[in-house]
């Protein structure tokens, strides 16, 4: 964007915010012009979230000032921010499932909502104008995640908007939906709205944004014009010089099935859950199978069925020679199944417990319990070994799990599972919210485990990650799983179609188990 003599729409000067034990924002300068799409790039923990909360009035900075159209401004709270024309789309939506689109937006607008029918027609016209088809009368629980995001964006657009902040908006979209979103955002910018696009995905920033500010460790580590940079140079700004940013791993294909899911139908008891339909899946020893999908398409239900939290009837889930469908989680663990859940705090690890206790949490089957009593010395040694082998940065095994950063805790959890020498590891979103250094370490650990002959199933929303580490790949949509293809034979476009539920193209390479195998499931 060319610099104008008129003041930028938003200027941040020396924003500093200190949290107990963490300097989240350190002297941050930033300006965004009208009609500009500005990227805020950075890894998790770089300070992006804090900065946008400062702009949106959710967090008061300790120092620094905010200028709005050149005038000093004190954003009191989000309601004030909205009055000024600042809209924000959060990564986690704040919508009520059982209300309609219009009702949700009316709630968000409060007194400004006006009468409901008029609001509904306003929603309709705004959504048509920006190519985001939404039916205002539908209840939110009937909408896909992509549609819900549109509701959040439309909520901002029905007001007079001058600055739209989007927090990692593409993490919940298929590649095709991302393209549609970008068209909308460009149109919005061309009409004069400023957009702050928060992301860590370099390709998207390059494709969409006029300028970028890069944060690292709470400070501005650089600014650039994405179109003139390559992704590697931007990645360097994000992670610093010392972290390796890209590697490739050789692809292999296993032959001996370790996990075979055949014709799994599972009815979800949750009113807003997803039913699994005719699901077929085979994971062989010595390979990584990746399953892509937009959140809420049956991943949780599939993972719960595999971990044993929900149990299936006999004959549908085969682990090596055992029908594990009816088995409880601990029985499955005893057979050699390990599990890394999506929520690392509050499922993978107990936040208030020490690392030693968290090592025992799933490690109890490996000789840490003798005659009902915990062998604490042994457990401590086990925890120490995980910390050392997986380079977990922590004050020590006594540290509480919630004192660790996301990446370090994830390394600990993955280490804990891998050190139990599983035959099958199931990992949900293994590098979600993890910095690039830790993500690389986690990927290497998974590849190493694969090369030792274990079968690995990775469910993730991060397509780049799946293409990087998976040997075979597919997608889940509305409780149905696409046929799996060797990764080199698939493409981002094809995976995107599968994420949207179009499995047509690849139907011939279905890895359904042969009838003789299905017959032996007992």
């Amino acid at each position: 964007m060319p610099q104008h003599p008129i003041p930028p729409r938003l200027t941040l000067r020396g924003i500093t915010k200190q949290y107990p034990g963490c300097l989240a924002n350190d002297d941050i300068h930033l300006n965004i012009a009208a009609a500009e799409i500005h990227a805020l790039l950075g890894e998790n923990g770089a300070g992006k979230s804090t900065l946008m909360k400062v702009i949106y009035g959710l967090v008061k900075p300790d120092r620094g000032e905010i200028l709005w159209d050149g005038l000093p401004l004190d954003v009191k709270d989000p309601a004030h921010a909205r009055k000024l024309g600042i809209g924000m789309v959060f990564q986690h939506f704040s919508l009520f499932d059982t209300l309609t689109v219009t009702e949700n937006i009316a709630l968000a607008l409060g007194d400004d909502a006006g009468d409901i029918p008029a609001l509904a027609s306003r929603i309709r016209s705004v959504s048509e104008k920006y190519g985001m088809a939404i039916n205002p009368d539908r209840q939110v629980h009937t909408l896909s995640v992509g549609e819900r995001q549109r509701v959040e964006i439309v909520r901002c657009l029905v007001q007079d908007i001058k600055l739209l902040i989007l927090d990692e908006p593409t993490s919940v979209l298929t590649p095709q939906e991302v393209d549609t979103l970008f068209v909308t955002l460009r149109q919005l910018a061309s009409e004069g709205c400023s957009i702050l696009f928060i992301s860590h995905k370099l390709n998207e920033v390059k494709a969409l944004c006029h300028r970028a500010t890069v944060l690292r460790g709470g400070r501005v580590s650089g600014a650039c014009i994405p179109a003139e940079e390559d992704t590697l140079s931007m990645a360097r700004l994000m992670v610093g010089e010392n972290t390796p940013v890209s590697t490739t791993y050789p692809k292999v294909l296993g032959t001996t099935p370790t996990l075979t899911v055949s014709n799994l139908n599972l009815h979800s008891h949750d009113a807003f859950g997803v039913h699994l339909k005719q699901l077929n899946l085979q994971v062989n020893a010595g390979e990584i199978v990746g399953i892509a999908g937009v959140a809420g398409n049956g991943q949780e239900e599939l993972l719960a069925a595999l971990s044993g939290e929900t149990r299936a009837s006999a004959g549908h889930i085969q682990f090596a020679d055992t029908d594990i469908g009816p088995l409880t989680p601990d029985r499955r663990r005893a057979l050699g199944l390990a599990f890394v859940p999506e929520e690392r705090l509050g499922r993978g690890a107990v936040p208030e417990m020490s690392l030693t206790e968290n090592a025992l949490l799933t490690g109890f089957l490996t000789g840490l319990v003798k005659r009902g009593m915990v062998a604490w010395k042994k457990t401590e040694a086990f925890a120490d070994q995980i910390i050392a082998d997986y380079k977990v940065k922590t004050a020590g095994r006594h540290a509480q799990a919630d004192s660790l950063s996301g990446g370090n805790l994830q390394k600990f959890i993955i280490g804990r599972e891998i050190m139990q020498k599983p035959r099958l590891l199931i990992a949900a979103h293994p590098t979600w919210g993890v910095d690039i250094g830790a993500a690389t370490a986690i990927h290497k650990a998974l590849i190493e485990l694969r090369d030792q002959g274990a079968a690995i199933l990775v469910v993730s929303e991060d397509i780049d990650e799946l293409f990087l580490i998976s040997d075979r790949i597919g997608a889940i949509c509305d409780g149905r799983l696409s046929p799996l293809k060797p990764t080199p034979e698939s493409s981002i476009a094809e995976l995107g179609r599968q994420m949207a539920g179009d499995f047509s193209d690849a139907a011939t390479i279905s890895p359904r188990p042969t009838t003789s195998r299905a017959g032996s499931l007992h």
Binding site: G21, K53, D77, A79, T328, G348, T362, F364, G372, V374
Partner: protein, 373 residues
């Protein structure tokens, strides 16, 4: 409007200082209260807190009072660790007393050695039975245990009253609602001569040690702690949630039952309508005051037992109402909860109007608890 803001990291030290602070604040409030009542506050306080234990007899009586509270509270510490809120120790205690009495009344003329164990087992069974009903309701029907256990306290009390006015009434008791006195073979032996300190105290101390070991060393104890802190982690790790709920509830119920039978087969020696002045409720306060830790619970038990004795003493010596005991118990709990909240959160007075809009987003992003004054 008053807002509570989280303070960030909680200090371990403060979490232990909180009960002490609560005890001090309770006493301070007591001083104010006595002054307002026109009683010399210092005299009142010493009457309540020192006089009851000024001699060895008083100390022995403290141990007698502490025994049932300790048994109930140590059991409750286990269920509470699992975040299961058994408010029914009182009812379980009463059922223990009733079952134990029934058994003791079967052996009025029997002095063999198996009588006492039978009586004690019957008492434990009474507690198990009563807690077991709540456990079944919770596990099978997902009933809220707070409600069921509270309601069952009243049912237990009325069953006990019916029994003592009816089938278990002493036929030669001039129609008083009391059972016959138990035979010596059904009575817990006295531990220290010339006092009422009985074998129940030894059982209570044994229970404290056993539960300390259970919670800190055993895998079951670990699973109970995980269940309380993080149910979904427990599920994912394959811990048997239902079995753990049964175990924890039955354990606390059994110990409360033991406390009940310890009273009827101990200092009381027969079944009467009022075998407990609310020990089971006091034990809830004790468990929290002791931070659910065995050592803390022992100390909190002594304080609570002292409050019971002090309340009686104040009634006798100063003519103050017996409700004083309940008042102090309530104050203690109130201050404890207040201290805990203020250790975790800081108060901030705000004048701004509450934000009107996306309420969910605001709440999740700032974790602000709003309390309108």
């Amino acid at each position: 409007m008053i807002k509570l803001e989280p303070r960030g990291e909680r200090s371990r030290l403060m979490s232990w200082l909180s009960p002490i602070l609560a005890a001090l604040l309770t006493m301070l409030t007591g001083l104010v209260l006595f002054t307002l009542l026109g009683v010399d506050p210092w005299q009142a306080l010493t009457t309540i807190l020192y006089k009851p234990i000024a001699d060895t007899y008083g100390l022995a009586e403290l141990a007698v009072k502490a025994t049932p509270i300790l048994l109930c509270a140590i059991g409750l510490s286990v269920v509470f660790k699992a975040q299961i809120w058994n408010i029914g120790a009182e009812g379980q205690l009463l059922m223990g007393g009733l079952f134990g009495s029934y058994m003791a009344l079967q052996f009025l003329d029997n002095d063999s050695g198996y009588v006492l164990p039978m009586v004690l087992l019957a008492g434990v069974a009474g507690g198990l039975f009563w807690a077991g009903i709540a456990a079944i309701l919770k596990v099978q029907f997902n009933t809220n245990e707070i409600l069921t256990t509270i309601m069952m306290n009243y049912i237990a009390l009325n069953i006990l009253l019916w029994a003592v006015h009816g089938p278990l009434k002493d036929p030669e008791g001039f129609n008083f609602p009391e059972s016959a006195m138990f035979s010596q073979s059904a009575i817990l032996p006295v531990l220290i001569d010339d006092t009422r300190v009985h074998f129940g105290l030894a059982l209570a101390l044994l229970a404290v040690v056993a539960i300390w070991v259970l919670m800190s060393r055993s895998f079951v104890g670990f699973q109970i702690r995980v269940l309380g802190l993080d149910r979904s982690a427990a599920r994912l790790s394959g811990f048997r949630e239902k079995r753990l709920i049964y175990f924890a509830l039955l354990l606390s119920g059994g110990l409360a039952g033991l406390a009940g039978v310890g009273e009827v087969a101990g200092p009381i020696g027969q079944l009467i309508p009022s075998i407990s002045p609310g020990y089971g409720y006091a034990a809830i306060i004790v468990a929290f005051l002791g931070r659910l830790h065995p050592l803390g619970i022992v100390l909190a038990t002594l304080l609570m037992a002292l409050l019971y004795m002090g309340g009686e003493m104040a009634q006798i010596e100063l003519g103050l109402p017996l409700a004083l005991t309940s008042l102090f118990q309530g104050l203690l709990l109130f201050y404890l909860l207040a201290c805990d909240v203020l250790i975790g959160f800081r108060l901030r007075l705000t004048t701004s109007k509450p934000a009107t809009a996306p309420a969910a987003a605001v709440a999740t992003d700032t974790a602000v608890i709003e309390a309108r004054g």
